[in-house]
């Protein structure tokens, strides 16, 4: 009974031979999204100005470690999202996840190095709240447009793991925004950097991705 149904299904599917438009190469999608996100980040840097120590080339190694970690997180998030959006690209998704883990390890090491180097944890007062909210908003704002573009691609592809694709992908795009914030914000207090440049934007990005993914109905493989 079931076998006959399967054969009928094959015939029905073959009767719908409409030509389809292939998705673009993932390499092209990655390049376009990275270039777009970097342009937006560059605009923010141009508007707010680089930190004096970065401009003078005297930034500490731990500071540069956080910058490198943000770059790695952005690219890792993008690779994970693209790899999870197309069947058969698990390796790319795994490489992306490894990059995310490496970025987190770099951040932890850099923050501990800063703590060891005598950096302040920072006061948790109104000023901290205002500065952190500002940094968080800029990072999320910069990442919003590339995140939407990425979600559009994920929605048009065939996400093997839609939640990972939209959540991690959007977090990666927001990390580009964090990069611009970290290059321009002079506040070095550990709590501010951790909450407003690293963890906060990534949590915001993940939530944003999941919400927009639900709103755009990024659809998983049909259920049995």
């Amino acid at each position: 009974m079931g076998v006959r149904k399967t054969e009928r299904l094959v015939q029905e599917l073959a009767r719908d031979p409409a030509a389809v438009r292939r998705i673009p190469r993932l390499r092209v999608v990655a390049l376009v999204l990275t270039a777009g996100a970097l342009c937006l980040a560059a605009l923010v840097v141009a508007a707010l100005g680089l930190r004096p120590d970065v401009r003078a080339g005297t930034a500490s190694a731990s500071y540069l470690g956080i910058v490198a970690g943000l770059g790695l997180f952005s690219l890792g998030g993008l690779a994970t999202a693209l790899g999870a959006s197309v069947p058969g690209r698990e390796l790319l998704a795994r490489v992306g996840l490894a990059a995310l883990a490496a970025a987190l390890a770099i951040w932890m090491a850099a923050l501990f190095a800063q703590l060891g180097g005598g950096a302040r944890l920072g006061p948790l007062d109104g000023a901290w709240l205002r500065t952190s909210a500002r940094c968080l908003l800029i990072a999320t704002g910069v990442g919003l447009l590339p995140a939407l573009a990425l979600l559009r691609f994920v929605g048009s592809a065939f996400a093997v793991n839609p939640r990972v694709a939209v959540g991690v992908g959007a977090a990666g795009m927001v990390a580009f925004g964090s990069l611009s914030v970290h290059l321009t914000c002079s506040a070095d207090e550990i709590l501010h950097v951790a909450s407003a440049h690293l963890i906060g934007p990534l949590v915001m990005g993940t939530l944003l991705g999941l919400l927009l993914g639900v709103a755009r109905r990024v659809d998983p493989i049909p259920r049995a």
Binding site: A14, P17, F158, I221, A224
Partner: protein
């Protein structure tokens, strides 16, 4: 050296199907079936759900066919879709198992069956009571106790899982007790 395996043509057939070639598409889907059935059977073990999963994979291939790029190998693309459909089926099965109560636990099997049969011979009253049941419950009770089919046979005939059929039958027994004046449970 060129690849002589039959699988070597699959990617080319899908690429042709992407351009609207119906014959290549049908050739591909037919060629995939034996390998796909074997793969699904080896992973699921439950023959009653194999064809459902195979059909889901075919539908997924149809929906995802625009994501295949001819410069990349076909097989990882195809097996990922198949693996995901199997994972979905396994999730669905465990969800169903959590929702459904085994018939034995409900004290319906064994002595319970004999009790019902003894108390409720297929009389006019019983016929009338059976007629009052919802279609799905009446069908389950009739297949198991009038036609004396096994749960697996009855489930295959109705096109549901054995667990679902047991639940339908259990609800039918409970409703019959109620209709015939016994305390339901």
């Amino acid at each position: 050296m060129s690849d002589e395996r039959p699988e070597a043509s699959w990617g080319a057939w899908l690429a042709a199907a992407q351009n609207g070639d119906a014959a290549a598409y049908e050739r591909l889907l037919v060629a995939l079936l034996p390998a796909l059935r074997g793969f699904v059977t080896s992973r699921l073990g439950d023959p009653s759900t194999v064809e459902d999963v195979v059909q889901n994979v075919l539908l997924s291939i149809h929906r995802a066919r625009h994501t295949y790029r001819p410069e990349r190998p076909f097989e990882p693309w195809f097996w990922t879709i198949a693996r995901n459909a199997i994972t979905d089926a396994q999730r669905l099965r465990s969800k169903r198992q959590r929702r459904e109560e085994p018939l034995d636990d409900l004290e319906i099997a064994g002595d319970g069956e004999r009790e019902i049969e003894a108390a409720l011979p297929l009389s006019t009253g019983m016929t009338r009571a059976l007629a009052a049941l919802p279609d799905s419950q009446r069908q389950a009770v009739e297949l198991l106790h009038v036609q004396q089919l096994s749960v697996a046979e009855a489930a295959a005939l109705v096109g549901v899982t054995p667990g679902a059929l047991k639940v339908r039958a259990h609800r039918g027994y409970r409703a019959l007790r109620g209709i015939l004046g016994e305390r339901p449970d």
